[in-house]
Each structure stands twice: as C-alpha cells, then as structure tokens.
C-alpha cells in the first residue's frame, strides 16, 4: 500500500483519430446524427466486420510507446451484453490476448506506473437524452459513434493520489499526441477509476469523461471514503457514477457482482500474427517521445528542466521551438514560447495543434524584437493577434505602424532639437539628475511618435552630453 493509503488504478478508453471506423469504411467525423453509418456499424444481419489496418497500427504504436510487450499473435473477442447503444448487443473487443501487456509510463516526477494491458475495441453508439438523463422519458441513439476505434489502456493500481492520476493522463495523452493517434479536440477520453483507501473495499467510478473529470471524481471519492472511515462506517464494494455538474459520485443501481459477458473468440475476424522483426521495426519507427525530447532540449539548447518540459510536452510547441531555434537564439525563443505564447494559448483556451502556426513568422517577430525594432509590448500584441485572429505578426506590426524603423540619424536630429530646447534639463542632467534623463527621453519619444527605441535614445543623449 502507498504511504498515504490511497490506491488508484485506471482503465482509460481513448478514441483513436483514424479517418474511418474500426470495422467499416464510415467516416469517424460527422456532424448530423446518424449520417455516418452503414449496415456494418448498424449491426445489420448479414454484414461482417473488416479490421481497419490503420487502427491496428495505431494500437500497436500505443502499446510500444507505453513500453508494453507486444503479443506476436492476438485476436478479437465478443463481449456480449444487452444495451440500447449496442448495435449488435455484443462489442468486438479483446479479452485473453490483447495487443500489448506489461508496460510502464513515468509520471513527471519520474515515478513509474505499470501498464497492465493495451487493447483495441469498438465504441458503442451514443445515447442522447434530449431533456437530460432522468428527465427524458425516451432516448435517442446516434450511431455515428458506433464502431469508432478505441484504445483501452489499463494501469496497475500504482497511482496514489488524484493528482498522480491526472499526471498519468497528461503523460498518456502527450504520448498519444506525439504518436498522432489522438486528437484532444475531437477525440474523447473516458476512464473507469478504481480507488480504495487504507486497504478497504475497492470502489469503481465508471465512465468518467476527461482528465479533469477523473481528477475531480477521484478527489471526491477519496474524501468520501476517508470520511466514511472516520465515522467508523464501512466502504462497500460498488460501482458508482460521476456527476459532472455537482462533481460528486453516486452509487449506480443494479448488480454489484461482476457482470458475465460470456466472451467468445470473434469468429468473423482472423487472428493477427506479427513476427519479432516486424515488432522490432515498428518500435524503431516510433517518434522521439516527450521525455526523451525534453532531455535532449536541456542538453542541446542548455535549457532548464522546467522550460524543456513545457516545450516537449506539447508536440506542436516542441516542433515550433526547434524550427525557430534554427533562426534565433534558442534561449530567447524558448522563453518567448513558454511564457508569452503559451500565456495566450492558456488564457484564450486555444488548441495549439489546431492553430497551424508558422515558425518563420514567429522567428521574424523575434528577430525584430532582438534588433530592437519593436518593443516587447508590441511583440506581445502581435502574438495575441496571430493566435487569436490569425494575422501574421509582421503584417500586424506593419499595419499598426509599430515598427521602429527610424534611422539613428533621424533620432540624433530629434535629440539635438530636444537638447537645444531644454537647456535647464540638460544642465540638471550634467549634475547627475536621473529624472531629467527620463524627461528628455520622453520628449524625444514624443517628437518621434514613439518610433524610437528608448534605450537607443538614452545612449545618444548620453553621447551628446559628453560631447
């Protein structure tokens, strides 16, 4: 048992971002309900599944990236139960031998979390309750979701706090994004959360949506269980559901024993066989993942660990950084991206992957800043415009007239004029009055309509006074 007495294990279901469904050619992205379905994903009699090779490849990549042993032969099974969202009243999933087993993932603090198994399965249809669950006296079924590929990742009960569970999901989704098999904006993540405290009964909170949902559900559940024990009451082994509005869990009605799904081998699909060489090749082809990339950033660009982690955790950000670092000082680029750019992303709730940012544009802006041809304030404004409105930074600077494109000669002229018109301030400055310098700079800025770089103005004034 963990030190704090909390034991958590997760079963995560993540939609893979293939173009078509797991066993038919229907699109995975569709707006209109029931517009992307066919006899196969509707389970019509006579239809047969055909495995989507891409989805299989994605699941294999996930298993390998999570350091799993990939099975050389595996197959699909039927999990049979009756529910209105099931087009066949059985789900094609994996049971005895999944894609991969015995893997592990490191949390951000380095703690290793065991991965029990990784398997591939189909999503059921979506039930829609128009007036809200409980209030509707009927349900609608949207089969667009029926047959979308899901990868299930089951952890060992190695997590010891809701925060660790959240951290695990962050690591997991980062890896999936790196593999480009998951789109956080369109693909859903759901988890069944198993939690027990101080060695008491295990409670399962089923079907929690999203990373934050998992963290909140677990926080509530841990508090609830501890509270029960504090009041010398028993924690009963049960299945609970999570209500996102109230952020609480409640016991689900129905059976508390294990459901019997009567698994059989899926006889419409053949076993998948892989050679050791094929598995090895696939492993070699995996992209560099975020942990490795972060280390490399620290070494290659001399970045601190925090900055390197922030850059590496987001695949797009890391890529952007490496491109920009080819053109401008890497430290400056790293600071700008992790602070200024990510501040805008986070504040405005943007999805970096969906933005399609140009490294060249950002590099140009940074060059202007380094050359002191724009102020930091102007650069910030430009990046906000770029991220929120898509206006190119160089265009923005140009349009807003923010470029400090005055020649030194013009600034000198302005300085000379100001010095000539403010004899008293010049005299004060010569006696060492710093306030006079600020005043003089301000006058120059006023005269140049703020297009001069203040530090340059200061420098020129100092030179003139020394004479």
């Amino acid at each position: 048992m963990e030190k704090n007495g909390i034991v958590i294990g997760l079963e995560c279901h993540i939609q893979l971002n293939t173009d078509s469904k797991l066993f038919c050619g229907c699109r995975t992205q569709a707006e209109e309900p029931n517009s992307s379905c066919c006899p196969i994903c509707l389970g019509h009699p006579g239809s047969k599944p055909v495995l989507n090779a891409k989805a299989l490849n994605y699941a294999l990549q996930v298993a390998l990236a999570l350091n799993c042993e990939v099975n050389k032969e595996f197959f699909f099974s039927r999990k049979t139960y009756f529910y209105p969202d099931m087009s066949k009243d059985f789900q094609i999933t994996q049971y005895e031998i999944p894609v991969g087993v015995k893997g592990h993932v490191a949390l951000s603090n380095g703690k290793r979390i065991g991965i029990t198994r990784v398997h591939l399965e189909e999503d059921p249809a979506a039930l829609v309750h128009e007036a809200g669950l409980g209030a509707s006296n009927f349900s609608l079924v949207d089969y667009n979701r029926s047959g979308i590929p899901l990868v299930e990742v089951v952890t060992e009960p190695d997590l010891s706090s809701p925060q660790e569970a959240r951290d695990f999901l962050d690591q997991l989704t980062t890896i999936l994004s790196y593999l480009k098999v998951y789109s956080p904006s369109s693909g859903t993540l759901k988890a069944d959360c198993n939690v027990s405290v101080y060695g008491n009964a295990r409670v399962e909170v089923k079907n929690v949506t999203g990373k934050r949902g998992v963290e909140k559900a677990l926080e509530f559940e841990v508090a609830r269980q501890k509270n029960l024990l504090l009041n010398e009451r028993e924690v009963v082994r049960e299945t609970r559901s999570f209500d996102e509005k109230s952020m609480t869990t409640k016991a689900t009605r129905g059976k508390e024993t294990e459901e019997d799904y009567g698994y059989i081998f899926e006889p419409d699909l053949t076993a998948i066989r892989l050679s050791t060489a094929e598995i090895k090749k696939m492993k070699q082809r995996l992209p560099e993942l975020h942990a490795a990339k972060s280390k490399r950033f620290m070494q290659e660009f001399n970045l601190d660990e925090y900055t390197a982690n922030v850059l590496a955790r987001n695949f797009t950000l890391g890529l952007l950084f490496e491109e920009i670092a080819k053109q401008v000082e890497p430290m400056i680029a790293a600071k700008f991206l992790t602070r200024e750019l990510m501040a805008v992303v986070n504040r405005s709730g943007l999805d970096l992957n969906a933005l399609d940012l140009s490294a060249d544009e950002i590099a140009s802006l940074l060059s202007l800043l380094l050359d002191r041809r724009v102020t930091e304030k102007a650069a910030k404004e430009a990046i906000i415009a770029y991220l929120t409105k898509g206006e190119k930074p160089t265009q923005f600077i140009e349009r807003q007239g923010l470029a400090m494109d005055l020649q030194e000669r013009d600034i000198e002229k302005a300085v000379e004029k100001v010095l000539a018109e403010n004899k008293k301030a010049v005299a004060d400055l010569k006696t060492g009055n710093k306030k006079s310098l600020n005043f003089l700079v301000g006058q120059v800025m006023h005269l140049t309509k703020a297009k001069a770089e203040p530090r340059l103005v200061q420098k020129i004034i100092a030179e003139k006074i020394k004479g």
Binding site: P39, L42, G43, H44, P45, G46, S47, K48, P49, V50, L51, R78, T80, F82, Y83, P84, S87, K88, D89, F90, V141, E258, D260, G262, Y263, I264, F265, P267, D268, L269, T270
Partner: protein
C-alpha cells in the same frame, strides 16, 4: 420448354435463342407458387424482381451482350442469405420485414453471371434443425417431394425440396453449419455441395455460427452444383475469413476413380438399409478403397459442434431486439423489458433452446469446461481428418444414418436424439472440409445419399469422385 436440361444445356439453348428467359422464369415462378400451398418450399417468391431481372437478361441476350455463365438460370436462395430489397428472414418471425440494403456476395456474383433469383427458401429458424421442422413462428414446414408424410431434412430443406420437385432447370444456394446442405440433399435425392470453410464468401449471410457457416450449392446433378460453386466461390475482401484462392473451373472437372476411405464409425451407426445402399454404390464405383477410422470425430464431434455452434449462435442472436429492423412491438417499459418481449414473441422454441445452451456454455465458470474445451477438441478432430487424408483421397460415409423420417417419427425424438442424427455430417463441417452428398439409391419412397469428403481446398478431388459415383449409380 427446358424440362430436364442441365444448366450447361439450358445456357446453350438460351444463348441460341431457343429458350425465352422471360417465359422460363414465368413458368418456374408459377410452379413455385402452385406447389407452395402443398410443399411450402418458399418463404417468399420474388415474382416481380425475378421477372424484371429476366427481362434485363433477355434483352442482353438479344443484343448479344450477355457473356454470363448463368444467363436466365433460375436460382432459389436459402432465406438466411441477404438479397437486396427482398425480405430475408432466415426463417424467423423476429426478422419480419427485414429487407437487406445489400446483396450477399454470392447473390451479387450469381446475378453478374445472369442468374435469376426466384425466391427465398424454407429453413429451420436460423438453421437450427436437422429436419426443417424447427421453422420460425408462423412459417410452414416443407414436405418431402417424394413422400409428403416425410420431412425434407434441414436446415436447407426448401432448397433441396424444390430442386428435387421441379423438372425445369434450377439450382439453389444453400448454407451448411453442421450438415444443412448434405442432409436435405440426401433426404430429397439431390446433390448438395458444401465447400471448404472460407472458399465462398459469407458476406450477406445471416449468421448461425460464423466459424462453421458455409454457403454452398445444390443441384440436380454434380455438374450443376459444381458450376454454381464456380460462380459463387472466390476471395472477397468483405469477409475477413474468406480464403485467397485462385478461381477454379469446378464445372470442367471429369470423373475420376480416386482412392476412397470408408469411414468405419460412420457406417457402424447407420440403419442397415442405408449402410447397404451406400456400400453398394461404392462397390459399383469399383475404386480402390481402404477402411478409415475416425474414433475421435465419432465420439466428440457432435458434442464439440453443438457447444461451439450454440455459443456463437447465442451471441449472433443477441442483436435481434426490435430496435433497428425486423419485428417491433409496442414501446413499453425499460429497454430490458422491451427487448425481452420482442425476443419472447419473435423466437421459436429451438432458437430459445440454443440461446440458453450457448449462453450457458460460454458463461464464466463454465466457459473453460465447455466452450474452450470444445474449441481445443476441434483442433484435435481436424488433425484426425488430416491423418486420414494422408492415406486416401476422399472419405465416404452415408450422409444421414437414416432415410427421411416421417413427421410422426420426428415428433417422438428428444432434442438430443435429433442432434445425434448429425453424426455423419458434423465432423466434416466442424473441420471445415469440403463435402458433397450424392443420391445413390431409393429406399422405397425415400432417397439415400452418399457423402464424400475431401481435404481442405481439395474440392476438385471431391467433385471427381462425386461425378464417378453419380455415373456409377445411374
């Protein structure tokens, strides 16, 4: 017009313009309709669609565009095979009103060669039977064309019955899970050909037990059945279990006397007259023979077959719950209550029995002892077959241990006794081996069939031997 012609002869006459496809289609539709009130071979006669198709084929022949192998050949199709827009119920009330949105691959292929689909034939509900007496609620039981007191055999009973009854050129697409092509072929005195598992695409087949289901052909002669197989066989990317095999000219095979293995245990358990007729047929053939023993298949075949087939069937039938197609009821209660109501009213007794059996066999706690053990046994039984085929080319045994029983006799059988009737057909079906039933004699009013089994993908040998048996028994 066109009576007594083989498919090849018929096609030649059609291509010459001596037979009108439209007239022939009209004639066979009328026969199907008129005989149905007495014999009940069809669950549906597709008059309109058939005549439309016939018109198109006729037109293409007149303009010389028809290059097909089966122009104008009328085909009946077992009800469990999907035909686009034609109610396909697999003999079950629960699929009332289900009109598939697509043609099964075999239908698509047959149509492409100019065949005319005339209707959906009677079967045991979802294939669950040996005598075609386990029909769905509201369906009629087909009668044996040689003696209406007797059954047709099942589960492709309507296909066999009509093939035997009509004098017109006709063949049928049947389906076998544990013997559902061979058995009715034997009882009705026609040829029933079941190919290697995976040789013919199952896309569009309403499943009974997917790892066992095989679509096959039924005809008046071995040649007719082989020709139809040639048309429907071949790899199909829509069926993941379909085998990547080159197309074979099954219709051009010549008879040949191969070495025949006489399966000891499968003869031992047959009625004496059946045994005698089958031995006679082999004698007339004059081929080299060797006695072969398949003790494991004889002992465990039926048990393994019924466990696997009901396990798979019970999952296949889960989808029939009145939500998307087929039988609907008034929406009342929660989903569980509604599903139960639809399923209670839609399935007949044997379907319910097999759902219960299959669900039990795969339940946690019993799964290891039944389902998984049966799957392991199956591997062992296949090995026993493979050993036999290292000694002989083709195995021979009576198709059924008895001739077609009367309905009166069937009523006295317990379910277990009925299952035991599949003794001879189950082993080849469980092993996925191609097999064919050829009529060899009459026992009074009832035909006797000899079953020939070949190794995986050795349909050619099987057809060679079948042609030889057929000509020896003429």
């Amino acid at each position: 017009m066109g009576e007594g012609l083989s498919i090849k002869q018929f096609v030649t006459e059609v291509k010459k313009g001596n037979i009108s496809v439209l007239e022939h289609t009209e004639k066979i539709l009328s026969e199907a309709e008129q005989s149905n009130s007495q014999y009940h071979y069809f669950n549906l006669i597709a008059r309109e669609a058939a005549l439309k198709q016939a018109g198109e084929v006729e037109a293409s022949i007149k303009t010389g565009r028809n290059k097909g192998m089966l122009p104008g050949v009328p085909l009946s199709v077992k009800d469990c095979i999907c035909v686009q827009g034609i109610e396909s119920r697999a003999g079950s009330k629960i699929l009332s009103g289900y009109e598939p949105l697509f043609d099964a691959t075999v239908i698509e292929r047959a149509r492409a060669e100019g065949a005319i689909i005339i209707g959906k034939t009677s079967q045991d509900e979802f294939g669950f039977g040996t005598f075609n007496t386990n029909v769905g609620i509201g369906f009629e039981i087909p009668k044996n064309p040689h003696d209406i007191k007797r059954c047709c055999g099942g589960s492709s009973g309507g296909s066999a019955g009509f093939t035997a009854l009509t004098k017109l050129t006709h063949a049928s697409i049947g389906e076998s899970t544990g013997g559902s092509i061979a058995c009715p072929a034997s009882f009705c005195g026609v040829v029933g050909l079941t190919p290697t598992y995976g040789r013919v695409s199952r896309y569009g087949l309403i499943d009974y037990a997917n790892s066992l289901d095989k679509i096959g052909s039924m005809g008046k002669t071995v040649e007719d059945a082989a020709l139809l197989l040639e048309v429907i066989a071949g790899y199909d990317s829509n069926d993941s279990t379909s085998l990547k095999q080159e197309k074979d000219d099954f219709s051009k095979i010549e008879p040949s006397k191969l070495k025949i293995g006489i399966v000891k245990e499968l003869f031992e358990n047959c009625d004496a007259p059946v045994k005698k007729e089958c031995m006679n047929a082999i004698k007339k053939l004059g081929a080299k023979t060797q006695e072969i023993s398949l003790p494991l298949n004889a002992k465990y075949g039926i048990a393994a077959y019924y466990i696997i087939s009901t396990s798979e069937a019970s999952t296949n039938l889960a989808r029939y719950c009145g939500m998307r197609y087929g039988l609907h009821e008034k929406l009342e209660g929660n989903f569980n209550e509604y599903f139960s109501k639809v399923r209670s009213n839609g399935f007949n007794k044997e379907a319910k029995r097999r759902i219960l059996l299959g669900t039990f066999a795969r339940m946690a706690g019993f799964r290891d002892a039944y389902y998984l053990r049966a799957m392991k046994a199956r591997t062992r039984l296949i090995r026993e077959f493979k050993e036999a085929f290292s000694k002989v080319d083709v195995l021979a045994n009576p198709t059924m241990p008895i001739v077609a029983p009367t309905f009166e006799a069937i009523e006295k059988l317990t379910p277990l006794q009925q299952y035991a009737m599949d003794l001879c057909t189950v082993p080849a079906n469980l092993a996925g081996m191609p097999h064919i039933s050829v009529p060899v004699a009459m026992q009074g009013k009832a035909p006797v069939g000899l079953m020939l089994t070949a190794d995986h993908l050795q349909e050619k040998k099987m057809i060679q031997a079948a042609l030889a048996v057929e000509s020896a028994c003429k």
